[in-house]
Symmetry: C2
Subunit: 233 residues, 2 copies
DNA sequence: CGAAGCCTTGATGCGCCTCAACGTACGTGG
DNA sequence: CCACGTACGTTGAGGCGCATCAAGGCTTCG
């Protein structure tokens, strides 16, 4: 457990609007831990023992089906809450959370949730706002899967990743953590083969650049056109 | 606005565990209204003015895409909360809510949410538990759409409807409100044609009975086998 | 240096959408 | 009450989108 300074985290959204003294108090109850790439933070169906905030890195949240298929529910970026089962009265985590890169994670014992929610209502409100946004995003994904073609969904997924986590480079916007074709296929309900073909085609067309575990968006608007469903260009 | 007796609603889940006097208080602030079949309770992107509990009937919650496709997010059964945007800090409703049969709906002004949540924490907790369950169900739907074939999804949808809202008849379990092929296709991300074909086949095989806007599940376990993904029987 | 992980590209086929046409129940107004 | 329009349902024919199967190349790491 490392020491934490309130000023380091006062700016991140979940803590927005909280009194400084409360922040310090809340932090004193938290544990900070480093997770190397690939390490699991929590596991699907495991008893929900803690809730978390990601201070640095990227976390992949994955659901596993009974017959072994994986579906990536979302990527968590730094500054975001995750594993907040307690806030929703869930006894178990509904998915796996795995570090997609080296991460720093802040955690509180789940048993503290009720106390925290009562004592720091601003924090609770912020949390529920996050839940609301995620619920909407998840609904959007349902709509997407139900109505759009693979090509659109993949374009969309890449655009979102680029917007959320992208880092500007000379070539364009680079997705800031290693991501495979397989990963993208698990976000979009398709196969790595199809994703590979699409990326190849888009690379030829000059919309993206891609290497092993790396994707750079060079022509975002053109990708957006594909995401909108207009066939080709 | 009709008069309401606390005993009429004390048993429904959102009010579970609330003191009787609080119940009466909370009820006194509510409005009760009747909605005939097809009438809209609230509209997607409309400002969230109220939150609701369904006392009787069935409500269909539908998302509309920019290009006019409809996706049925869920059906609300009696005793359930809906339109709880305020609890999640959302300013607008994310979908349409339409009466699928004659309904009775209880509603509170959205501006009351904060006060209600503070004064009746049990009610708030119950609400957030509901949100948690719905978030999980929505995630499940994503997984389903991403990994299962149409046949499985349709079987699953019908089974769920039968379990949630089914009424026992001599033939089996009847889905308790009028539902079209189109409705089912909008729940499962397919077309009414495919649903029609599947139902025809299942009727021939003796798994279901179906008439206009009516579906009865006669052999639930066999349907469940199909939902599990085993081809045919 | 070998093994494992990641990526690519072709060939093949089938699941399901699309297009099309028609039958049937419902309810509304004359 | 019947006639007609509309909503709902069925079933066929055709074809496309994408999964699946298959094989091989390249990169990373122990």
């Amino acid at each position: 457990m490392s020491l934490l300074d309130a000023s380091l985290i006062a700016d991140i959204p979940p803590f927005q609007g909280m009194k400084r003294e409360y922040l310090v108090e809340l932090l004193s109850k938290a544990k900070s831990e480093r997770y190397e790439n690939g390490r699991t933070v929590f596991t699907q169906d495991e008893e929900a023992h803690s809730f978390f905030i990601l201070l640095d890195g990227h976390i992949r949240v994955v659901r596993i089906t009974p017959d072994g298929d994986q579906v990536i529910a979302r990527y968590i970026s730094s500054g975001e809450l995750f594993g907040i089962a307690q806030a929703l009265g869930l006894e178990r985590y509904p998915a796996n959370a795995v570090a997609a890169v080296e991460c720093v994670v802040l955690s509180w014992p789940g048993t503290l949730w009720n106390m925290v929610a009562e004592k720091y209502p601003t924090f609770a409100t912020n949390t529920y706002r996050t839940v609301g946004i995620r619920l909407q995003e998840t609904q959007d994904k349902v709509v997407e899967l139900a109505t759009e073609r693979v090509e659109q969904r993949v374009a969309n997924a890449i655009l979102k990743l680029a917007n959320q986590t992208g880092r500007k480079t000379e070539d364009g916007i680079l997705i800031d953590f290693p991501i495979t074709r397989q990963d993208i296929s698990e976000m979009t309900g398709t196969t790595l083969h199809t994703v590979s073909r699409l990326l190849s085609a888009w690379e030829t067309a000059g919309l993206v650049k891609s290497e092993r575990k790396k994707i750079t968006v060079t022509e975002g608007h053109k990708l957006a056109v594909i995401a909108e469903g207009k066939r080709e260009l």
